[in-house]
């Protein structure tokens, strides 16, 4: 399958460090572009450009509030990211769950060995 234009999917969008930083920033609360620029040390046009990319791939939601636009995180855009990370995450989440349980069993075994021995 041909690769889509560089910024047209969530994977590409979050490959850029500033855009990840914007998503982190927008976690808790919505913010205007000026806030985003200031927090990340970007100029406003650069921040606007990143926000535009994030909106296009559905990672960020914008709403008008008076004269300004407020940007917030839009989790729906992350679904394709979750879809593939799920494989890795599931592997290690389940492996570590099993390891944790197994190590506890080993410790119980050692304790009972100690008691009987």
């Amino acid at each position: 399958m041909a690769r889509a234009a560089t910024t047209s999917d969530a994977f590409n969008a979050i490959a850029e460090p500033n855009r990840r930083a914007i998503l982190t920033l927008l976690r808790g609360n919505e913010r205007p572009v000026g806030d985003v620029a200031l927090s990340l040390g970007l100029n406003q046009p650069a921040a606007s450009k990143h926000l535009k990319v994030l909106r296009e791939v559905g990672l960020v939601y914008a709403r008008r509030a008076g004269k300004q636009r407020l940007y917030s995180l839009d989790a729906r855009g992350l679904e394709p990211v979750h879809a593939w990370t799920g494989v890795f995450e599931e592997f290690w989440t389940e492996s570590f769950d099993r390891l944790d349980k197994y190590v506890r069993e080993l410790r119980r075994g050692e304790q009972s060995d100690g008691e009987t021995g």
């Binding site: 990840r20 992350l78 979750h82 990370t85 995450e89 492996s95 099993r98 390891l99 944790d100 410790r107």
Partner: protein, 166 residues
């Protein structure tokens, strides 16, 4: 179930994942370095392992098959690079000895009081290699690539995806 801590690191060739395990460092190291132990926990629920060779030394090989719950077999070929008891293991992971795209993982095992923090860092040859894996995972639902992706940890992109919309 405890949540994995995972991040997409600044290096775009890496994936890092970590987890606290309820047990002492030496025991966790043992669980990572003894094939009899590994078969009891390595891999997702429903997977089993058949080990054909296991030699714990730099240059030594762990040759094993992962059997998926649907009957699919996934070959694995791990060459140990460093064994530093009880705190570190490094290895190259591939499907077969001549796999052109192996990746390197380092497992760091650190005492944290009564518990042990395990951190796994996987480094790809190139960002393209990782991205390819990323796309395969997305397109194929990960099923076919699960074996070779086994060691790749999660990218919830830490900062980007680590939360749900309230």
């Amino acid at each position: 179930m405890e949540r994995l801590a995972s991040t997409l690191t600044d290096s775009e060739r890496e994936i890092v994942v970590s987890r606290l395990i309820d047990g002492p460092q030496e025991l966790v190291f043992e669980a990572f370095t003894n094939p009899a132990h590994l078969s009891n926990w390595y891999g997702p629920n429903g997977f089993t392992i058949t080990t054909h060779a296991f030699e714990l030394r730099p240059g030594g090989v762990w040759d094993f098959i992962m059997h998926g719950p649907d009957g699919t077999d996934y070959p694995n070929w791990i060459v140990f690079l460093e064994i530093a008891p009880p705190e570190r293991i490094a290895y190259r992971h591939s499907e077969t000895p001549d796999d052109p795209e192996p990746f390197t993982s380092t497992v760091t095992i650190a005492a944290r009081g009564d518990r042990t923090e395990v951190t796994l860092r996987s480094v790809f040859e190139t960002r393209e290699q990782r991205d390819k894996v990323v796309q395969c995972g997305a397109v194929e639902g990960g099923e076919q690539t699960l074996g070779r992706l086994a060691e790749f940890a999660a990218v919830r992109s830490g900062d980007a995806t680590g939360q749900e919309q309230a």
